[in-house]
C-alpha cells in the first residue's frame, strides 16, 4: 500500500492534470461545454462558478464517478480513461465530496481502510494506525482515529475524508466546497493543511463560493459559467473579489445589502428557559431564553456545535426539550412539526439533502411538501397538481433555479440550486416566523445577494426571523440583534451596529459573557 510519502516535489512546469475539450451532457442539460482545465503540480487551483455552472460535474468526471461525453484527460502526461473512482485513485486522484461518504458507526481508522484490498478483516488495526498517524503529523490532520465517525465534528469528519484519500496514495486532491460546512477557525486549519499538502508536492483543486478564501489560498483560478470556461487558469496575482464575481456572474455584485432601520413589532417567538440534548444525549441547550419580534432579524452566532442547530430544531418541533416555546402565544415546544407549520413557522433546515428535500421527487413536489395540505394546493382529499406545477414554475423563475423543468427530480439539481428550491418553498409560505439555518450555504455570490435581499424584504413585511449562520459577515449585515451562543448558553445579545467582530468572537469562545440583551 503506497502512502503519500512518495509524492514528487512541487514543480510548476509539470502538469498534474490536463483536461481538454471536456463535454458532459445529461438529458436536457449541457453541463460542461468544451471545458479545459490544467492543474500544475504543487498548486492550489480554484474552480469557481455560479450554482449549476458544472463544477461538481467536471470534478466527478476527473474522479471517475461520471464519464465525459467527449474530451480527453491526461494525468501526469498520460492519457487516462476512468470507469470508476477506483481507477482514478490508482492514478493518484482523490475527491472529498461536499456531503461525506463515511460510515457513521465505524471508527475513523476503519473508514480510512474501508474498501481497500488489505486489510481483509479489521483485525490488528494498530498496524495501520502507525501509517495513519504519520500522515496526520505530516499534514496537520489531527483526529482521534479510534472514535466512531458519528462522534466526530463535521470538521473532523472532513479530515478523515482527506486522510482517506491520502492513505490511498492520492497526489491530486479535489475538494468540493470543503469550507461550506466548516466554522471559521476550522476553515483556517483547512487552509493550513492545504498549504502543507502543496508544499509537499500534492496538487489541489478547490471549489468554493467564498471569494475571500479563494483570494487567500489559490494560485490560479478557472471560472465556469453555464458550462463554459470564462477564465482559464488565470494566476490569482492581482485579481480582486470584484473581478472574480464579475467573471462568475457576468455583472457587478453588491457585497453589502442595505438594511433600513425599522421599529420591530410585538413578540412572535418567545423561548423561555429551554434545555435539550443533542444526538449523543449530551446537553446541547442549557436554559436558553430569547425573544424574536415581528419585523426583526435575530442572528444566532456561535461556533458550530454549540447548540444552534438544536435551537432551531426545538422551535420547529424536530427535537424534544424542556421549558416553554411560544409562537404568537401558542405553545409549540414538544409538539410535532405539523403544529409549528400550522402556526406559520417556516424552517430552512441545516441539512438540505437529508431533511430539506426528497431526492426522487420533482421540484414541484418538493415545493408543495408543506403546502399540499391547505387550499389552494390541497383540496379536501386531493392535490391540485396543475396549480402546483404553475406555482413551481413561477418560483423557479423568481428564485432563478437552474433546471430543465419543474419536473426535474431534486437529486439532479446542483447543490446551490437545491438550496434555492428549499428557500423558495419556505419563503413563499409567507411565514410569521422563519427559522433559517445557514440559508445561503452553497449559494453563489449572486444568489446570496438575492436571498439576503429577500430575507430583508420578509423582515420589512413583518416576519420574525431567527437566522442561524456561521458567517459572521452575514449575521452582521442582516441582523437587528445578534445572540451569541456558547456551550448551549446565550452569552449575550449584542447590537451589530455597535459591536465589533472581535467582541463577538470573544463571546463565541465563551471567554467573556455579557449580561442582559
Amino acid at each position: 500500500m503506497s502512502t503519500s510519502t512518495n509524492a514528487p516535489p512541487p514543480d510548476y512546469r509539470v502538469l498534474a492534470v490536463d483536461m481538454s475539450n471536456i463535454v458532459i451532457r445529461f438529458p436536457g442539460v449541457l453541463a460542461n461545454d468544451h471545458v479545459n482545465l490544467t492543474l500544475k503540480q504543487g498548486e492550489i487551483h480554484a474552480l469557481l462558478g455560479e450554482n449549476g455552472a458544472g463544477k461538481s460535474t467536471l470534478m466527478n468526471v476527473l474522479s471517475g464517478l461520471y464519464k465525459q461525453t467527449s474530451g480527453t484527460i491526461k494525468v501526469y502526461g498520460e492519457k487516462v480513461d476512468f470507469n470508476s473512482p477506483r481507477d482514478a485513485i490508482a492514478k493518484g486522484i482523490g475527491m472529498v465530496h461536499q456531503h461525506f461518504m463515511l460510515v457513521p458507526t465505524q471508527t475513523a481508522t476503519e473508514n480510512i481502510l474501508l474498501g481497500l484490498k488489505e486489510p481483509r478483516f479489521f483485525l490488528n488495526l494498530s498496524r495501520y494506525d502507525k501509517a495513519i498517524r504519520e500522515l496526520q503529523e505530516q499534514f496537520g490532520l489531527y483526529v482521534d482515529t479510534a472514535s466512531k465517525v458519528w462522534q466526530l465534528s463535521v470538521g473532523e469528519q472532513q479530515r478523515v475524508e482527506i486522510l482517506k484519500t491520502l492513505y490511498r496514495g492520492a497526489n491530486i486532491l479535489i475538494l468540493d466546497e470543503p469550507t461550506a460546512v466548516l466554522a471559521p477557525q476550522e476553515i483556517d486549519e483547512l487552509m493550513n493543511t492545504m498549504r502543507a499538502l502543496v508544499a509537499q508536492g500534492k496538487s489541489i483543486i478547490f471549489i468554493s463560493h467564498k471569494l475571500h478564501e479563494v483570494e487567500q489560498v489559490a494560485d490560479r483560478v478557472t471560472v465556469l459559467r453555464k458550462g463554459v470556461v470564462t477564465a482559464e487558469g488565470i494566476p490569482m496575482g492581482n485579481m480582486t473579489k470584484k473581478d472574480l464575481a464579475q467573471l462568475m456572474v457576468g455583472r457587478d455584485v453588491v457585497f453589502a445589502v442595505k438594511k433600513e432601520v425599522r421599529e420591530p413589532g410585538p413578540v412572535v417567538l418567545s423561548i423561555k428557559n429551554v434545555s435539550a440534548t443533542n444526538n449523543k444525549g449530551v446537553a446541547a441547550l442549557r436554559g436558553v431564553s430569547l425573544d424574536v419580534r415581528a419585523g426583526e432579524i435575530v442572528g444566532v452566532a456561535g461556533v458550530a456545535g454549540n447548540g444552534q442547530s438544536e435551537l432551531a430544531e426545538v422551535i420547529t418541533g424536530m427535537r424534544e426539550c424542556t421549558g416553554s416555546i411560544t409562537v404568537n402565544g401558542v405553545e409549540v415546544a414538544n409538539k410535532p412539526p405539523r403544529i409549528s407549520i400550522g402556526h406559520g413557522v417556516s424552517h430552512v433546515p441545516e441539512d438540505r439533502t437529508h431533511v430539506g428535500s426528497a431526492p426522487n421527487m420533482t421540484i414541484t413536489e418538493n415545493v408543495i411538501m408543506k403546502a399540499y395540505r391547505e387550499e389552494p394546493i390541497g383540496n379536501r382529499w386531493s392535490v391540485n397538481y396543475p396549480l402546483a406545477h404553475d406555482n413551481a414554475e413561477e418560483l423557479k423563475e423568481q428564485y432563478d433555479v437552474l433546471a430543465p423543468s419543474v419536473d426535474t427530480m431534486a437529486r439532479k439539481l446542483s447543490g446551490g440550486n437545491l438550496q434555492k428550491v428549499i428557500l423558495a418553498r419556505e419563503i413563499s409560505a409567507e411565514p410569521r416566523l422563519m427559522v433559517a439555518v445557514q440559508p445561503t450555504r452553497g449559494l453563489d455570490v449572486g444568489a446570496i445577494e438575492a436571498i439576503q435581499t429577500l430575507l430583508l424584504a420578509q423582515r420589512d413585511a413583518g416576519t420574525a426571523i431567527l437566522l442561524v449562520s456561521e458567517e459572521l459577515e452575514e449575521l452582521m449585515a442582516l441582523s437587528d440583534r445578534i445572540a451569541v451562543i456558547y456551550d448551549g448558553v446565550i452569552q449575550g445579545i449584542v447590537d451589530p451596529e455597535h459591536t465589533g467582530v472581535s467582541e463577538i468572537g470573544l463571546l463565541m469562545t465563551g471567554q467573556v459573557s455579557k449580561e442582559g440583551g
Binding site: 463535454v23 458532459i24 451532457r25 445529461f26 461538481s56 460535474t57 466527478n60 471517475g64 464517478l65 461520471y66 464519464k67 465525459q68 461525453t69 480513461d81 470507469n83 470508476s84 473512482p85 465530496h97 461536499q98 456531503h99 461518504m101 468540493d176 466546497e177 461550506a180 420547529t316 424536530m318 410535532p336 412539526p337 405539523r338 407549520i341 400550522g342 424552517h347 433546515p349 439533502t353 437529508h354 431533511v355 430539506g356 428535500s357 426528497a358 431526492p359 426522487n360 421527487m361 413536489e365 408543495i368 411538501m369 408543506k370 399540499y372 395540505r373 390541497g378 382529499w381 386531493s382 392535490v383 397538481y385 427530480m409 437529486r411 439532479k412 439539481l413 446542483s414 447543490g415 452553497g442
Partner: protein, 377 residues
C-alpha cells in the same frame, strides 16, 4: 476475441423506458428459457406455447377462466403496491387474504345478516367484513412497527402462518361440513353473480365462471391509482417512501401512516379473500389460496408499483395458472413463473448497473454517470 464485458454502476436515473422494458424483457426471456428447457427434455416449445395461449386466451371461455384467476391476483398485487410505495414491506398479503375470507364467512356462518337477506345486503356486508378482517391483520404489524419499531417483514411473515392455522381450526372443528375440511356451501345470497347465471338471457355466457369480483377488482384499481397519484394521502405515502426524515420535517405523522397504509394494504388483500370465497368456492375451505399473497409480491414488482400494470401482469399470471392445469408435465406453469421471478430480480441489476460490451480499442461511451452516489454540490 478481443471483446470485454464491462459492468458499471449506473447513474440513479436510467432512461425512462428501461423499467418497463426490463419487465417485458424478463417475461420474454423467461419464455425463451422455458422453451430451451422444453427442447432439451424433448418437447416442442412452439406447440407447447401455442397450446398455452389457446388454453389461457384462445376462447371466450378460456379468457373467462383466466380472468377468474386474475381477480385475486389483481387485489393482492394492489395490496403490495400500496405498501411498497411507502417502502413498507408487507409480505403478509397471504395471511390477510385468509383472515379476510374468514371474516367474510362470519357474515353467513354466525350469521351476521339474517338468513334470507337479499343478495346485495349479504354481499355488501361480506365486502365490509372481508376488508375489516384484512385491515385487522395489517393493523397488528403496522402498530408493532409504528410503536415498537418491530420489523414488519418478520411480523407479516409470521402472521401468515397464524392466519392459515386459524382458518384451519374453524373449518376442522365448529364449521366442518360432515367432517370434511370445509364449511357447508353458503346460501346463494352470498354468491357473487357469474356470467353463467345469465345464460338463460344470453346463451353466449353459458359455462362462463367469470364473477363480479373482477369488476370489483377493476374499480379498486382505479381507486388505488387515484389515491396514489392524485390524493393528499398518496402524496404523503410517496414522500415517506422517498425520504422519511423530510416527511417528518414537513409535518407528516409517519407512525399514523405506517398503521393506516398497513391496514389499507391488508384490507385489499382481505377483499381478495372475500372475492375468492364468494365468487369461486362459495364456502370457506382449506387452501383457498395457492400462495396468491406471495404471487402478489412478484406482480407488484413486475408492474413497477403501477396499479394499471398490476392488472395486465395479473392477467398474464392468471393465464399461466389456467394453462398450467391443462398441460403435462403440470409443473410447467410454475417453472415459467419461477423463471419470470428470477428474471425480474436479475433485471433489477440492469436498472442499477450498466453493462456494455466493447472491443479493446473502442472508447466511445455516452455521458453516463457511473454511480448514483455522486453528490452534486
Amino acid at each position: 476475441m478481443a471483446f470485454k464485458l464491462q459492468v458499471e454502476k449506473r447513474s440513479a436515473d436510467p432512461p425512462r423506458w428501461l423499467p418497463a422494458a426490463t419487465s417485458i424483457g424478463a417475461v420474454v426471456i423467461a419464455f425463451i428459457i422455458s422453451g430451451i428447457i422444453l427442447t432439451i427434455i424433448g418437447g416442442d416449445p412452439i406447440r407447447v406455447f401455442s397450446f398455452f395461449y389457446e388454453a389461457a386466451f384462445g376462447s371466450w371461455a378460456a379468457l373467462s377462466d383466466t380472468l377468474v384467476k386474475a381477480t385475486p391476483l389483481i387485489l393482492v398485487g394492489l395490496a403490495c403496491t400500496v405498501a411498497f410505495r411507502m417502502k413498507l414491506w408487507n409480505i403478509g398479503a397471504e395471511g390477510q387474504f385468509y383472515i379476510g375470507a374468514f371474516f367474510a364467512s362470519l357474515v353467513v356462518l354466525l350469521p351476521i345478516v339474517p338468513a334470507g337477506s337479499s343478495r346485495w345486503v349479504t354481499i355488501g356486508t361480506m365486502i365490509v367484513f372481508g376488508m375489516i378482517g384484512g385491515a385487522l391483520w395489517g393493523f397488528i404489524p403496522g402498530f408493532l412497527k409504528a410503536r415498537y419499531r418491530v420489523n414488519e417483514i418478520i411480523t407479516t411473515l409470521m402472521l401468515n402462518y397464524i392466519a392459515i392455522l386459524w382458518n384451519n381450526y374453524w373449518i376442522f372443528s365448529k364449521w366442518s361440513d360432515a367432517g370434511f375440511q370445509m364449511t357447508p356451501v353458503f346460501d346463494k345470497a352470498a354468491w357473487l353473480p357469474r356470467l353463467a347465471d345469465y345464460a338463460r338471457e344470453f346463451a353466449f355466457f353459458s359455462g362462463m365462471t367469470l364473477h363480479f369480483g373482477f369488476v370489483i377488482a377493476l374499480i379498486v384499481t382505479v381507486i388505488v391509482w387515484w389515491i396514489l397519484s392524485r390524493s393528499k394521502w398518496g402524496f404523503e405515502i410517496k414522500l415517506i417512501g422517498d425520504n422519511p426524515e423530510a416527511a417528518r420535517y414537513s409535518g407528516i405523522n409517519i407512525a399514523r401512516n405506517i398503521v393506516l397504509v398497513m391496514m389499507f394494504s391488508g384490507a385489499l388483500a382481505g377483499l381478495a379473500g372475500m372475492s375468492e370465497i364468494t365468487g369461486v368456492v362459495h364456502r370457506l375451505q382449506e387452501r383457498i389460496s395457492p400462495g396468491y399473497g406471495f404471487t402478489g409480491i412478484i406482480i407488484a414488482w413486475l408492474a413497477k408499483l403501477n396499479p394499471f400494470a398490476v392488472v395486465l401482469v395479473s392477467i398474464l399470471f392468471g393465464g399461466l395458472i389456467v394453462a398450467g392445469r391443462e398441460i403435462q408435465p403440470s409443473g410447467l406453469a410454475q417453472l415459467i413463473q419461477g423463471i419470470i421471478l428470477f428474471m425480474v430480480i436479475s433485471s433489477e441489476f440492469l436498472l442499477r448497473y450498466r453493462v456494455s460490451f466493447f472491443g479493446r480499442n473502442e472508447a466511445e461511451t455516452p455521458a453516463t454517470p457511473s454511480t448514483p452516489e455522486a453528490e452534486t454540490a
